[in-house]
């Protein structure tokens, strides 16, 4: 090797190094976290699109699937790292994205041709139409689809035999793939006079014709198709449904709750009671009576879960929250009530602090509420990292109308019952649940585990252990003290509530007012006698003047 040759090699090597130096950070920046599913969305995705992306991420979370979501520009070079990729309503994307998809599709097609038994590990789902149309055009499959005009389609889907559900759904530039060879098709979408499908799969591509996830029927159907797409078409997905008596407050008359429990027990409907946390006065008679009813409910197949403490912390304090939960849990546990899960606001799953709080609970119920003090961080994190804690999720059911109890069957759902509103409809709810194709389940049929800073509860194979000790939840009525001493002095009673004192005060004021009115009448009578009756002086001044 002469000197000239060495010089040339050094220059090339140097250039390569410089190129690698600049390339490395770019590729590092473009890298997205790994997961089972990658959701790719438009580079200019607006709030409405992001809401739908988070809905898909939530559905995957409830199914226990970790996913990654990022704009198309950030996903370049990462498609091959994921077996499942969802392209959601892509409108703005880097041109190289098609090449990457095509490369994988062609590679898989080649392997399939070479080996008849080859089953591709890649699955691409196109949600929406324009991006798929563009891709089919780029790959010269112009004749494999038909284009239709319209922004709204009539969507029909069947979750169970002979029970079709129909709804109008929004569409963007609808197309239907018409290739003769396809592997799967479900639902129908009527656009104008053309009838197409809701979901269709050919080779490694699956097409969902609408991404209108704000529509409950589309969301339920999408959820089902999503998990069928991932888990395989032969899988029968049918998760459980729970009836949850929502937000039951301690220190209230438990008569209504007891009546509901009895009615549900008579109808053999298992149920869950979500109790609000309490931090003090666990020994008060009202709390004892409330817990007595909860113990009775546990014996009748009811399970208890604890609603997360309601807080007003601008700066969320994990330790303080854990302490509050531990106090509330401890209070119930000492009364023989064993909450087996935690009910949290819906946005708790997308915040690092609240996820840390939830990590101590195996079973999580999502409440139909949002915590206004919590801000989600999924946009920054780009992943549903909460999945790593492998929770058992129960989420509010999505109902299509008043008559049904929801069609979401890819994850466990909760039908919430509000004691203050739904008592009149209890019979109808029980009937609907009995008739539902989604089975009603007892929370005592599945395992649970949780721990607080003070207590641990595990439930496995029908054995409940509290702080490691096997515990029986058979109901035994309790004898109460007739005269309970609240150990409150007058000041404490006043500071607790003035209502009682107001009543006494009102009586005193009424008595005083009557007395004063009598006084006034007496005084007026006296004055009349003094000043107007003839035998008296005409007026006091004149009287004294006369005396002068």
């Amino acid at each position: 090797m002469n000197y000239n040759m060495m010089f040339k090699k050094s220059v090339v090597l140097g250039l390569l190094l410089i190129f690698a130096f600049f390339l490395f950070p770019l590729s590092a920046k473009a890298a997205v976290p790994e997961g089972e599913v990658l959701i790719v969305y438009s580079d200019d995705a607006d709030e409405a699109v992001m809401k739908n992306i988070y809905q898909i991420a939530e559905l995957l979370t409830f199914g226990g699937v970790e996913c990654t979501f990022a704009p198309a520009a950030e996903c370049r070079g990462s498609l091959g790292n994921f077996q499942n990729v969802i392209f959601y309503e892509l409108e703005k994307y880097p041109p190289g994205l098609f090449k990457e998809i095509q490369l994988i599709e062609n590679g898989e097609a080649k392997r399939a041709r070479e080996n008849e038994n080859y089953r591709s590990r890649y699955r691409f789902m196109f949600v929406g139409n324009p991006f798929l149309k563009e891709y089919l055009d780029r790959t010269e499959r112009y004749t494999k689809y038909t284009v239709h005009n319209g922004e709204v389609g009539t969507f029909t889907y069947s979750f169970e035999e002979q029970n079709e559900k129909q709804s109008l759904a929004q569409l963007k530039e609808p197309i239907f793939y018409n290739g003769r060879k396809f592997d799967y098709q479900s639902g129908t979408m009527l656009v104008g006079s053309a009838e197409g499908y809701f979901c269709k799969t050919w080779d490694i591509i699956t097409h969902i014709t609408t991404g209108d996830l704000g529509n409950p029927l589309v969301k339920a159907a999408f959820s089902k198709e999503l998990f069928l797409w991932m888990d395989g078409r032969d899988q029968v997905i049918r998760q459980a449904r729970y009836l949850v008596i929502d937000r039951v407050y301690p220190f209230q008359d438990p008569a209504g709750l007891l009546e509901t429990i009895r009615e549900l027990a008579e109808n053999n409907i298992p149920f869950v009671i979500s109790v609000m946390p309490v931090y003090d006065h666990g020994d008060y008679p009202a709390m004892q009576h409330f817990c007595e009813v909860l113990r009775y409910a546990q014996d009748k197949g009811g399970a208890v879960i604890l609603h997360a403490p309601i807080h007003h912390m601008a700066e969320f304090d994990v330790d303080q929250m854990n302490e509050s939960i531990a106090t509330a849990m401890g209070l119930y546990i000492r009364q023989g009530v064993y909450p087996v899960g935690l009910q949290v606001p819906e946005n708790w799953m997308s915040n690092r602090d609240t996820v840390e709080v939830m990590s101590r609970f195996g079973t999580i119920l999502i409440a139909e509420e949002t915590d206004p003090w919590i801000e989600g961080d999924w946009k920054e994190e780009k992943t549903n990292y909460v999945c790593r804690d492998a929770h058992q999720w129960i989420v509010p059911v999505v109902t299509l109308n008043e008559e049904d109890t929801g069609y979401m069957e890819t994850h466990s759902t909760a039908v919430y019952l509000d004691l203050s509103k739904d008592m009149e409809n209890l019979g109808r709810i029980i009937e609907n649940m009995k008739n539902s194709h989604v089975p009603i389940k007892n929370l005592w049929e599945v395992s649970h585990s949780l721990w607080t800073t003070v207590d641990t509860i595990t439930y496995e194979n029908g054995i409940l252990r509290v702080n490691g000790k096997e515990t029986d939840r058979t109901f035994v009525p309790t004898e109460y003290e007739e005269e309970f001493s609240y150990q409150r002095n007058r000041r404490q009673r006043f500071s607790k509530d003035l209502t009682g004192e107001n009543q006494k005060l009102a009586i005193a004021v009424a008595a005083m007012s009557i007395l004063f009115i009598i006084f006034i009448i007496v005084a007026r009578g006296n004055n009349r006698r003094r000043f107007f009756i003839k035998d008296e002086e005409e007026d006091l001044d004149a009287y004294w003047e006369n005396k002068r």
């Binding site: 500071s495 003035l498 005060l505 009115i517 006084f519 006296n526 007026d539």
Partner: protein
């Protein structure tokens, strides 16, 4: 329990506590007033022989009072008390107006009457009411001292009633009469003052006397034994409220004070806010001085019933002030959305009931008087609650501030004279005019 809850609870407890105390005193006052009126009707106070009446020295401190002093002296000369048994000493205290001439004119017209005028200069006089009274005391010949302010027009029988009552009991150190607002129709402010005078000075005095034989000398229209004043060493020149101060001293000496509402004097009250504020600040400042000076006796068993009075003043000035400040602050902050009371049962019903009681309580006192009980008065009471009583808070805060300032800078007490106004006619004259 938040700070707002604590303060609300305190305000509610204090306001209702004071409310019930007032109601209690009003009930006693009402019974006493009715009883006294019956005595008057039954003519229980029979006139004594002239020689039985003690010699009385009526002392009238006056500083630039030319507008009102003439009427006052004429009213004093018209007493139905034996003319040879009382003398009038007017201390024309460093006046720069024509008071001296006015008084001289009256002296000349009434040569046979014992009317003494002491004109002081800025060396001897001009040091406040107490100093003026001490000067008068040095020349007074009476065994009983009567005090009238320069703006008073007492009823002709006022002195006789006061002295007759004083003669009834050896342990009675002083007898005080009732004072009414002469110019009550002059302005909205004087109407308020009139109601306040009847409800909180007259009725409260009556109630305290009825239950505890406790009274506070109001500064005018009272008689006191000369021997007591001599024993006390005269009036305390440092006290702005010499009347309250002397009452406390009297009780410590083992005497008591009687309230006699039949002895009436009419006095001129400030017509303008500025004068009212000045006068009330002086009173409040004086009361704060007396309260601080005498608070030690609140826990002294030898102080007798005076201890109750110390507590009463402490309640009015400390509890009332702080509770009103707290409740008003919470109310304003609540409206602005800056504070929220989470106390269970903390409702407008509480305030509603307090207002009803307040109005009824004041109406009782008006019902005892002639021509005071009417719808207009009821509306005025309501208006008073939201305006006049708030002004009282400002008065006390200023008085406390000035007291602290005086203590820090060791300031000398200055008698801040209340400005007088010309009046159209006397009450009796007005009534005659109205009848015509």
């Amino acid at each position: 329990m938040s700070l707002a809850d604590c303060l609300s609870l305190y305000a509610i407890a204090a306001i209702w506590g004071l409310m019930f105390l007032n109601i209690f005193l009003s009930i006693g006052g009402f019974i006493y007033m009715i009883r006294v009126n019956r005595q008057e009707k039954d003519k229980k106070h029979k006139k004594h022989q002239d020689q039985e009446y003690p010699m009385v020295s009526i002392m009238v401190p006056a500083h630039n009072e030319s507008i009102v002093i003439g009427k006052t002296v004429m009213a004093l000369l018209a007493f139905d008390y034996p003319a040879d048994r009382y003398e009038i000493i007017v201390i024309n205290d460093n006046s720069s107006d024509n008071s001296a001439q006015v008084l001289k004119g009256i002296q000349e017209k009434n040569p046979d009457r014992r009317l003494m005028v002491i004109n002081t200069d800025n060396i001897m006089g001009g040091k406040g009411k107490s100093n003026a009274l001490n000067i008068a005391l040095s020349v007074a010949k009476g065994t009983v001292i009567a005090i009238y302010d320069a703006d008073n027009t007492p009823a002709p029988d006022a002195l006789r009633i006061l002295v007759e009552n004083l003669m009834e009991d050896e342990k009675l150190g002083a007898v005080i009469g009732k004072f009414r607002t002469r110019n009550r129709n002059a302005s909205l402010l004087t109407r308020f003052v009139n109601i306040e005078t009847l409800a909180y000075q007259c009725m409260n005095q009556a109630g305290r006397y009825f239950f505890f034989k406790l009274c506070t000398i109001p500064g005018t229209n009272y008689v006191i034994r000369r021997s007591i004043i001599d024993e006390m060493g005269g009036w305390d020149t440092k006290a702005l409220s010499e009347d309250t101060e002397i009452s406390f001293r009297l009780y410590r000496m083992g005497y008591y004070i009687k309230f006699m509402p039949l002895a009436v004097t009419w006095e001129q009250e400030p017509q303008k806010l500025k004068q009212w504020f000045k006068q009330r600040t002086r009173w409040a400042k004086g009361n704060v001085y007396v309260l601080i000076k005498n608070f030690k006796y609140a826990f002294d068993p030898k102080a007798g019933p005076m201890r109750l009075d110390v507590f009463y003043y402490a309640l009015v000035y400390v509890l009332m002030l702080t509770s009103l400040v707290c409740s008003d602050t919470i109310f304003v902050l609540g409206i602005l959305g800056l504070c929220h009371v989470t106390l269970g049962g903390f409702s407008s019903l509480l305030w509603g009931m307090a207002i009803v009681l307040f109005v009824l309580n004041v109406l009782i006192t008006l019902s005892v008087e002639k021509n005071e009980f009417n719808v207009e008065s009821a509306l005025l009471i309501l208006l008073m609650l939201f305006t006049y009583s708030k002004m009282w808070v400002a008065v006390v805060i200023k008085a406390i501030y000035l007291s602290i300032q005086d203590a820090v800078f060791d300031k000398e007490v200055v008698w801040d004279k209340t400005e007088r106004f010309e009046e159209s006619a006397q009450p009796a004259e007005r009534k005659k005019l109205a009848k015509r």
